[in-house]
């Protein structure tokens, strides 16, 4: 059982009358990429906010390395090695790469009460870490606002890994990116998993999820449609499982129909 790095059993979350999540269960192993799929409003963000300590689950339990845990704040989750890269990335575009990289966890030097932020060390680490993923930071004091979307995403992920994430949760990391940048980010995610992290990748883009995922959980209107290993799935099956999949099928039929009519 304990081979699962993180498990959550029967998680439910209600916002007043809205049932955002109902009885969702999911398990992720070390080195595994679990893709969490679902249409807009399916409850993906709510699920990971519950997992990362922003919300408390109304029902169910979170088990990390075999032990039941309750998070009172995002910091609790962070301390347990659960790092979440949110859609907004938690990057401040006016601040430098280094200042962002170490935001909230700045290395210090000096004597007590006169401790200073060790910017030199921070600059070196930030440049080195970004260099490892092939992003050449010409000047670590340049504002994050000058970086491209993919570079920012990689910065946020690389920061989470540097600070000892065991579980990496990524909320729609590729949704705002072009094809090329998305593939750079996805490659980096695969590399992170191969180093032993458990990755939960949230997306509603099957084409991004399918090539990198090891297993797939589909959420629909707050409920899990189940978890599937890659070998039991095809891209098409996954697509049709997601809410809207059927509708897209229907749409395709309709479009073909229209095409036929207009040709005639």
């Amino acid at each position: 059982m304990s081979e699962n790095l993180i498990e959550f059993n029967g998680i439910s979350k209600f916002f007043g009358k809205v049932i955002a999540l109902k009885d969702v269960t999911m398990k992720v192993k070390k080195g595994e990429i679990m893709c969490l799929l679902g249409d807009n409003g399916a409850g993906k963000s709510t699920l990971i906010k519950t997992l990362s300590g922003v919300h408390k689950p109304d029902e169910g339990e979170i088990i990390i390395e075999g032990e039941k845990k309750i998070f009172d704040s995002p910091k609790d989750a962070l301390d347990m090695g659960i790092a979440t890269v949110y859609q907004d990335l938690a990057l401040v575009s006016l601040m430098s790469v280094t200042r962002n990289f170490f935001m909230g966890r700045e290395p210090q030097k000096g004597i007590p009460f006169f401790k200073t932020f060790d910017i030199e060390k921070a600059n070196n680490i930030a440049a080195e870490r970004m260099g490892q993923i092939g992003i050449d930071i010409r000047d670590p004091s340049q504002a994050v606002g000058t970086m491209s979307g993919g570079e920012r995403q990689c910065l946020a992920i690389s920061r989470a890994i540097y600070f000892g994430a065991k579980v990496l949760i990524l909320d729609e990391p590729t949704s705002a990116l072009g094809v090329h940048q998305a593939s750079v980010v996805l490659k980096y995610i695969v590399k992170a998993a191969s180093q032993g992290l458990a990755v939960i990748l949230i997306t509603h883009n099957v084409h991004h999820a399918f090539p990198v995922g090891n297993s797939f959980t589909v959420l629909n209107r707050g409920k899990s449609l189940g978890t599937y290993a890659k070998k039991d799935l095809s891209r098409e099956k996954l697509l049709s499982m997601m809410a809207g999949g059927e509708e897209l099928d229907k749409l395709e039929v309709e479009l073909r129909e229209m095409d036929r009519i207009s040709k005639n």
Binding site: K75, D88, L94, G145
Partner: protein, 375 residues
């Protein structure tokens, strides 16, 4: 297809990079928030050097005068700038100045407290007011503009009401005699480097009174505090973890919280900072004048914010510097005093203040776009 051409473009950019190195150093300088205020200060000095160079404005006495005015404003401007970088405003600074003044004067004059105890009391009240402002803003999520606007009225009203209730008047004089022999009052009331001015006077290098003592007797305490605060605030912003938290809290509250920055605590501490800055301002002025006035500090909050904005702080938070605010205060202080030495009617000062602010905001906005410009 378009993706391919993009990546070729970025490669071109890389190969050009070696030649760009020199330019980027200059660009770093251009991107510093205090650049505008530094340039503005230089222009102001050149202007008055030309139109008022021979009027005594830049004599030792005249210089200390405009430095004193700048320094007083600078003390609250720096506190306001730190808070603005942290993403909030404090409109109650001016009222806090009045309130702190009577917190010093009433206990000392009417209740027989030693002066030092009244001063400590005033700072304790400042911590309370700042904490209250901060906790209200953080807990309610209301704009600090509204919360501290309410506090502006509450504090000013309370200052008037309490003073009239206790003293029957709106002014509390009689503090001057308490300064001597007080263990801490000297920190806010004594001119320093007197020996230097005596020496300069004896060498006939600076203007003398008829009795032979120099006209300028020493560096006023405001200037010393101003310098100390500028250095201290800059050190905090640039060199400490707390400084990074200030930028982060103002730049993106949610993002900062998500990576573990205690945004609420940071903001509360900055509100305490502005209230304490106002109290320091009040201490210096009350001890200098020897009396507290319930209207003291009126509109000072706006001047402080104006100086911070001219100094490069963005109204939206997350960007700015203490040195910039210090230069902003220097510009205002120099112009407000310098205008007396010119033929220009002093009524124009406010026009100048407004125009400076407009120029600064437009300039800052442009700079921000540059800084966050995507590749």
């Amino acid at each position: 297809m378009s993706e391919k051409s993009k990546s070729i473009d970025s490669k071109k950019e890389f190969s050009k990079d070696e030649r760009l190195k020199k330019v980027s150093k200059l660009k770093i300088l251009l991107n510093r928030p205090e650049l505008g205020a530094l340039g503005g200060s230089i222009l102001v000095f050149i202007f008055f050097g030309i139109v008022a160079g021979d009027t005594g404005m830049f004599s030792a006495y005249g210089t200390l005068n405009f430095l004193d005015v700048s320094a007083n404003l600078g003390i609250i401007a720096i506190a306001a700038a730190m808070l603005m970088i942290g993403g909030e405003f404090d409109l109650s600074i001016g009222s806090m100045i009045g309130f702190a003044g009577i917190c010093i004067a009433i206990p000392a004059i009417y209740w027989g407290w030693p002066l030092w105890m009244s001063i400590v009391f005033a700072f304790a009240m400042a911590v309370l007011v700042g904490y209250f402002n901060g906790i209200l803003v953080v807990r309610t999520g209301l704009p600090s503009f509204i919360v501290t606007l309410a506090m502006l009225f509450i504090l000013r009203g309370a200052t008037l009401a309490i003073t009239r209730l206790i003293t029957g008047r709106t002014q509390v004089p009689g503090l001057r005699v308490l300064i001597d022999n007080d263990p801490i009052a000297w920190m806010f009331a004594t001119d320093t480097f007197k020996w230097l001015f005596t020496w300069l006077g004896s060498m006939k290098l600076i203007a003398l009174r008829t009795d032979g003592t120099p006209l300028a007797t020493g560096i006023p305490p405001s200037v010393i505090w101003f310098i100390i605060l500028t250095i201290f605030a800059t050190w905090i912003l640039m060199k400490t973890r707390y400084g990074n938290w200030i930028f982060a809290s103002g730049g993106d509250k949610v993002g900062a919280t998500n990576v573990g920055v205690p945004v609420g605590k940071v903001k509360i501490s900055l509100f305490i900072g502005t209230a304490c800055g106002a109290t320091l301002f009040a201490c210096i002025q009350v001890l200098d004048a020897g009396s507290a006035d319930t209207m003291r500090g009126t509109l000072k909050e706006l001047e402080a914010i104006a100086a911070a904005v001219v100094g490069g702080c963005l109204l939206t938070g997350g960007y700015g510097s203490a040195i910039g605010a210090a230069f902003g205060a220097l510009i205002f202080g120099t112009v407000s005093m310098g205008i007396f030495y010119t033929d220009v009617d002093t009524d124009w000062f406010k026009v100048f203040l407004g125009a400076m602010m407009l120029i600064a905001v437009v300039f800052n906005n442009y700079i921000r776009k540059k800084v966050t410009e995507s590749k």
